[in-house]
Amino acid sequence: MSTSTYKRFEDPESGSLPDKMTVYQECLQAFNASPIKAKKCRALLSRLLRLLYNGETFQKTEATNLFFSVSKLFHNADPSLRQLGYLAIKELCSISDDVLMITASIMKDIQGAEPVFKPDAIRTLSRVLDGSTIHAAERAMRNCIVDSNQAVCSAALVSTYHMLPVARDVVRRWANEAQEAISASKTLVRSPYTTHDNFGASARLPQSTYFHQYHALGLLYHLKKQDRMAMLKLIQQLTSRQSLQSSFAVLQLVRYVASMLQEDTSGQLAQQFWPLFNSWLNNKSEMVELDAAKVVLAPSSRFNQEQQLKAITTLQELLSVPRTVTRFSAVRLLSRVALADPEMVRACNSDLESLVNDPCRSISTYAITTLLKTGNAQSVDRLVKTIAGFMGDISDEFKVVVVEAVRTLTLKFPEKHSSLLVFLGDALRDEGGYNFKNSVIEAIFDIVKFVPDAREAALELFCEFIEDCEYTELAVRVLHLLGEYGPKAKKPSLYVRHIYNRVVLENSIVRSSAVIALSKFALVGDKQLTASIRILLQRCLQDVDDEVRDRTALSLRLVEGAELKSSTRARALLQPETRFSLAALEQQLCRYVRSKDKTSFSQAFDIKVVPRHTEEEILATEYKAKIAVEDDMASMSTQAKMETITSKNEAHILSTEGGRSSSKPVAASDLAARSNLLQQQYSQELSGIDEFQDYGLLLHSSGVVELTERETEFIVTAVKHVFKEHIVIQYNVENTLKDIQVEDVTVMTQLDTDDYKEETAVPAAMLKPDSSVCVYVSFSRPADHRMVLATMTNSLAYVSKDVDESTGEPASDDEGFPDEYQIEDLAITPGDFVTPCFTGSFTSSFDGLNNEEVAVYNLGRSEENPLAKVVKRLSQSMSMTPLEGSDMVDSSASHTLKLFGKSINGDKVAALVKLVSSSKGVMMKTQVRSSDSELAQMLANQWE
């Protein structure tokens, strides 16, 4: 290396990293020198750490060399060098060998009295030791925990905490010291080595910050959490005498109580702990207030409404504090609550409205989306007006979020389409980039698809839009939509002019899609219109672009064919009634191509085995996918996923359609495919099993039914798969035992009807500890494809063997003993024969079906059956799509649920469920109409 580059690395001003090998050499040299020069060595250590903290790593031998050289520095007594030395050792520990060698030197410092580096020594020790060597440090660590220096005590507690996973049994013996540390008073110590000019006179070192309480409590919890009584006692102790001074410790306590509440099955604890939460909701620390509110408002919380409202009030107050982060946290929490229970958050609406103009953009985004969620049918108009007011002031990214939120509103309140459409129309006319325009288009697409009443107005908007649309991609999509829905409108000729204008004025890509759209109008049946379209198309034959000419020629040919009426084929090609399920097509093709049996290639691929979906079915799955995103969000896991997506693209923070926003321009079939993913997966798994090869197409798979409690030795869940002539029950068996392996797992079933005959069973050969397998049992369905309800009793049969802990295998001579395990009954319900479906107008579909069945039930006390829960359970058990936003329960007194679905035989079924909650209990009146009277009867009378 030349001197000049060497100099460059020396110069801190240059900002570039020091050379790795130079630092390595210099460190070895200086650290091994005698006598040790403290200042130089500290500077070198600082450079070494700079390398490490920039992500540079050393080879193991180099790291070990460095590690031992640093340990040589212990010959020098300078505390400031020692402190940095410990930091270096801590960082090098994980990449070096033989780190144990240094224990003795560290122990000397720990037993010594120098307060400056004693805590650092303790913390470093926990990196060097492991489960087998911790005994050596036991006495010293205990002494440190009771030390009156707060830093020493904290360091010892934290180090102990780090050691928990490897040395729980040893650490357990220190519980008393930890317990004492919570209440003991500790002080901070100042040393001449750590005096900084800037402390000044004003900022004096506090006597104690009580942080050791946080660490002690954290440690104690992990030692005691299995013992419920001990935890209750601890909580009582810590809250009765205000003994916790540190707000971090209080926060930790809130979390421990929360996790106890979560595990509590009786539901008594919540009320018992309410006084505590009440005080925490008014804590001096904002973070405690937030966490307490989070617990009280959690979806599974057992606090009553009044108590939850108290938490909302706390959050409301936090909305107006000066700290950005606190406001953010509060509004984020509120928006989460609004997903599950918009009613509750409505009290904060005025505060949320003032946050709309918050300087922090994330906060204002949350505020708006929360506002839109809390909006009910009455307030939508006003809300939309408010939003329209500030649309001009905000950036494009942000507008996208707003439009997405408005779009969910249109799905939720189809009857409000007029004002929402006006809003979207204005947005479409506004200036804006591609992403913004695209989201508006998407929103209007949804209106066209799902709100038939608004269809024509929306199409009109589109006609206006393509007149001066600068984005080719969007123009093409709009043209396609016009071609699809235009001919179904009252006056198709209206759209023809707009489309033909494109043929005259636009580029070739738009022209070619306009040609296809035009050709669809020829099929309306209006002779005059058809004739004029043919004239228009013939003109297009002169186009300069060959793609346009090709498409025109093809369209003309098809139109002529369709006119002859003899050819239904041409018509089918122009306006297909059904579409292939693309996911299924892909799967079938893959199977065909990957087939190991060479002879199967002698036959051509049979396209007929691929299921086709009608328009309605596709819409249903699409609708479900869009609504489902919102449902799922109540549960945390998807929330997290959603926020990942949204936070990647900050603009989409909490856009309710988070799942979709990442891939906006997806085709309908693609969306449908995604919601069908699970079904696809099932069908793939089943088709992989020889016994079920010739069962044909999987018609319907039920949701997962739990057949055991969640905390038993074996957790069993079941999924019912319905085929044309068979029904297959898939049992997922999970072994939670650590020391038992079971073999030959089968499920013995006993049905209460003779209509189903057991055919085959596919047992699982082996179930290892902590793993799961699938067991299948198949039945033949009655010959006339009737839908028969049944209940089956199940028990798990297996041979169990003890597992040797060291090898993880059972002893070879262990023959095991056969055993049985009783699990709950499984019922074949009407819902198993129904798939969710969509219809644009529920009322007309409902009126159109002739066989009606009515049933009335009293479901029991309203506390146990909140309407929202009943609604969710109903749509799940009946396996039908809730329509017109009727799955959102607005009031707690009464609700009307509209469900629509289709049986596996193709019969449509619609259900109108009216729920009234009163002091006498929850009354339910179910009206089911279907083209199949038997199905209607079954569905109406089902309520478990």
Binding site: K39, P165, N198, R204, F248, M287, V325, T326, S647, I653
Partner: protein, 191 residues
Amino acid sequence: MPINTSLYTVEAVVIVDNKGKRLFAKYYKAPHEDAVEDIVINKKKQLQFEKDLFGKTFKQGNNEIILFDNHAVVYNEFPDSILYVIGSLGENEVLLYNVLQGLSGALEIVLKNEVDKRSIQEFYDLVVLAIDETIDDGIVLETDSTAIAARVTNAPAEDVSNIKIDLSERGFLNAFKFAKKNLSERLQQGF
């Protein structure tokens, strides 16, 4: 909703300069457990994460918090560098912010109110000690900035050594003179 009952709350501390280049980065994992997230050990992912995060936060108005790539991130902008404290998505944002405030305050004390790229690099030892005294592998040790700063040692003022060897020209001449004098005395005494 999973409740984080462990003391491990901070996932990473990162300082980058005004071009998004890393000045300090430490992704925490419990010392005796395996890393839960890939990002803790994968340097490439870390750099990408920092780059994207920087793009989303640098000179974007005074926001102080962002939910980013499955993390809750609070940050503090200094004149030509940014300090990030990173936690999990479900972590209490105000807790993270308290850590950030404590650390920022401590840095201001030890760097004499001049927290910028140059002084961070020049007094790197003080910076890393302050961070180490605030967070120990993900566990918050202290959030009071004076208390943190009071744990950070200053660098030794000068090398105190037992044998003082003056290697300057004058020192050398002195030594030479001393030797010459002694030698000539001895010679004159005739051994």
